[in-house]
């Protein structure tokens, strides 16, 4: 049993007079202790809503529906009442947000924001809490922590603020850490520092890390396994190397082909994915990626492609996946074609 098991999570937002939005639609993944799992996708793919739902941070509104389960160490996080959830949040499960300036309270000194967590979950007060906070800030690489404790968020640089946020998140040595675009607002050299820090935390404390990002480069360096999201669904799941070497879903392949790489030359044309994220079908009408897909078949528009699980632990949601090198592509619509990755059970959500 994994530490966190998200099963068939779905989030819909309904507003009167408008079409219901399926922000997250049947997302399943699991994370083990000491493992880094990536959720990758572009804006609007549902990666942040997924994390907010798991953390219980989505605003309670009549139109918002959350379905499925997110079992953390035997407890379903989605079924908890507020009190129980507050006990777990910050202690066992913690989150790091993208923009440290808007997730820190601007009128409260850093020190108090860190000790608040310690007081709430570890019952530390006064000098003990202060000492622990100094230790934490020092641990995440903030110089002169004693002085920094008295400072306000605006007095810190972007990298420092993100470190302070990480210090708060790891204050209670959580077993699961969710990082939502933790380095997107930062410069590359600072990004490298923060990623190194997160890697260390995972290795030293065996924390499970869910890394939410749009940056395939960050994923390539950090994650053990990766879920690629498109329009609220996981379209491909694989371990790190297979995903980058032989992407099966056309969207994954398209993303990899469209990113300019530091080690490719001047003038090599990029292969963008045509259209934009706005050109999305709703899933029940077929594959949401079909309008932008270069491998589209008629079958793609008829019904939602089932999740295909291959024997090597990968899965993808495509009727005509990108063929593996050296394999004759199987004809779509003929699931019985004897090709090595087709003879596995096909499960359907």
């Amino acid at each position: 049993m994994a530490l966190l098991d998200v099963n068939d999570l779905s989030v819909t937002f309904a507003r009167r007079g408008q079409r219901t939005v399926h922000a997250v639609d049947g997302v399943s993944f699991s994370v083990d202790a000491g493992e880094v799992v990536g959720l990758v996708g572009e804006s609007g793919c549902g990666k942040s809503v997924t994390s907010m739902a798991i953390m219980g941070l989505l605003p309670r509104r009549p139109g918002t529906r959350i379905g499925g389960t997110a079992v953390f160490d035997g407890t379903d996080l989605l079924g908890l009442d507020d009190r129980a959830r507050r006990d777990i949040r910050g202690r066992d499960v913690a989150m790091i947000f993208q923009d440290p300036l808007s997730s820190l309270n601007p009128v409260i000194p850093i020190g108090l924001q860190v000790t608040e967590v310690l007081a709430r979950h570890r019952g530390m007060t006064g000098d003990t809490a202060r000492k622990e906070a100094v230790g934490l800030l020092d641990r995440v690489g903030i110089p002169d922590p004693n002085r920094r404790l008295k400072e306000y968020p605006h007095q810190l640089s972007g990298g420092m603020r993100q470190r302070a946020l990480i210090a708060m998140a790891v204050a209670c040595r959580p077993r699961l850490l969710i990082a939502d675009e933790p380095t997107t607002a930062l410069d590359v050299t600072i990004q490298a520092q923060i990623l190194e820090l997160l890697k260390e935390l995972v290795q030293e404390s065996g924390t499970a890390l869910v890394m939410i990002t749009h940056d395939l480069g960050v994923v390539a360096g950090m994650c053990d396994s990766i879920n690629v999201l498109y329009a609220g669904r996981v379209v491909e799941t694989a371990r790190r190397r297979p995903l980058f070497r032989t992407p099966r879903h056309p969207y994954t392949a398209g993303l990899l082909g469209s990113v300019p790489r530091l080690d490719s030359g001047r003038g090599e044309p990029l292969n963008p994915i045509p259209g934009s994220v706005r050109d999305v079908l709703s899933w029940p009408e077929g594959c949401a990626f079909a309008p932008r897909c270069s491998r589209r078949l008629d079958a793609c528009l008829d019904e939602t492609p089932p999740l295909v699980r291959t024997h090597d632990g990968r899965s993808y949601r495509c009727v005509d996946p990108v063929p593996l090198p050296g394999v004759v592509p199987a004809q779509a619509g003929q699931p019985g074609t004897p090709s090595p990755e087709r003879n596995e059970e096909e499960t359907r959500d």
């Binding site: 640089s157 990004q191 749009h214 360096g221 001047r266």
Partner: protein, 371 residues
């Protein structure tokens, strides 16, 4: 390369912003030296990429080049004309030939103007196209060039996706028939799959219209992709300038090396093999830059002599221009990085524990006010 081929030449450009304090009378108590002595030349029809971290002065340089921010000192020569001393009327006439593309298309397009009105404004200002029909024809051509349909004319910016909005911004620049386009972070607000569309469009336009670009970006991979020459800025000054390929294969300045090593590459095999140079701390304040080499407070190769007291100038080393006293000896690995300032980590195979995992050491001045 003859002088005729140079479209833009910047000589010792300086932009200093005063820091004022006081209740009744503003007293200038110092200057933020956003750009402090930059020389560069952009040949006609080529792309010059400017990279650096936030606060290094790259955007200010772009704006000062277009005279959108008045330079404190130095010269900008555009096609043989010195811009800094040009009378306003003649400068306005020159502006048609140099246009800008902004980062965020949502905030750089007026939400209450439709696309036709956005594109007509520039034409009217510069008196291009005698009547409405002529202007319409010009606008139509511009839309074709950037790949937008004609029905876009009557629509408003909010009706478009991010990529299309950026195309409107590009059309607004292209419709005036400019020679130079300064693009400030043209793709950083866009999704990955859309970035490539816009990058390709910029490349196509350069080829078909013979445009000269100054591309300002923090994303080194994008800059490498579209630039012929790349300049790396740090705290208001160029630290290295080299042909794009050379800069990436043989970075000479320690800052360039650190920057290159920090950019994640979407390839697990590359990521696991890479040696990462972690820089300590943050960018020092541009109001109070370090003496000597501005990078010496964070430099893993900083030496006890010269670095702290002698400001290095750009000098030619095998085709690159580098502002480092020790560039040759660092390149030949005669000098090794000292571990006091930063750490070099090499991930072991399989992406597991890096062999040495230093926490970035707190050597930088603690009161850096970056942001």
């Amino acid at each position: 390369m003859t002088d005729n081929d140079i479209l833009v030449e910047v000589r010792d450009l300086k932009v200093h912003f005063p820091i004022k304090r006081g209740v009744l009378f503003d007293r200038t108590i110092g200057h933020v030296k956003a750009v402090d002595g930059v020389d560069l030349r952009i040949p006609r029809g080529q792309t010059y990429g400017l990279v650096g971290e936030s606060g290094c002065g790259k955007s200010t340089l772009g704006r000062a080049l277009l005279q959108l921010t008045a330079p404190t000192g130095g010269e900008v020569v555009f096609d043989g004309v010195e811009l800094t001393t040009l009378p306003p009327a003649r400068l306005r006439a020159m502006r048609r030939r140099m246009q800008m593309i902004f980062q965020d298309p949502m905030s750089s397009l007026d939400p209450r103007q439709n696309v036709e009105s956005i594109l007509t404004e520039g034409l009217q200002t510069h008196g291009i196209g005698g009547n409405r029909d002529e202007r319409r024809a010009l606008i139509g051509e511009a839309l074709d060039k950037v790949g937008l349909p004609r029905w876009a004319l009557s629509r408003y910016p909010h009706e478009f996706s991010g990529g299309q909005r950026q195309r409107i911004g590009i059309a607004r620049a292209v419709v005036l028939g400019p020679e130079l386009i300064v693009a400030d972070e043209p793709v950083s607000a866009l999704d990955v799959s859309i970035q490539a569309q816009v990058v390709n469009l910029l490349d196509e336009l350069q080829e078909s219209l013979g445009l000269t670009y100054l591309v300002i970006a923090h994303d080194l991979a994008v800059v490498r992709h579209i630039s012929d020459t790349v300049g790396v800025m740090y705290l208001g000054a160029l630290v290295e300038e080299a042909p794009s390929d050379r800069l990436y294969t043989e970075p000479l300045h320690p800052y360039t090396r650190a920057l290159m090593s920090a950019v994640p590459v979407p390839d697990p095999d590359v990521e696991d093999r890479r040696e990462r140079i972690l820089l300590a701390g943050d960018l020092p304040s541009p109001a109070n830059p370090p003496a000597g080499c501005r990078f010496h407070t964070r430099c893993p190769w900083a030496q006890p002599t010269r670095c702290a007291d002698e400001r290095p100038v750009l000098r030619d080393i095998g085709g690159s221009r580098v502002a480092c006293h020790w560039a040759e000896r660092i390149a030949s690995e005669e000098l090794r990085p000292n571990h006091a300032g930063a750490g070099v980590t090499r991930a072991s195979d399989g992406g597991e524990a890096p062999e040495s995992v230093p926490i970035p050491a707190p050597t930088v001045k603690a009161d850096s006010t970056d942001g």
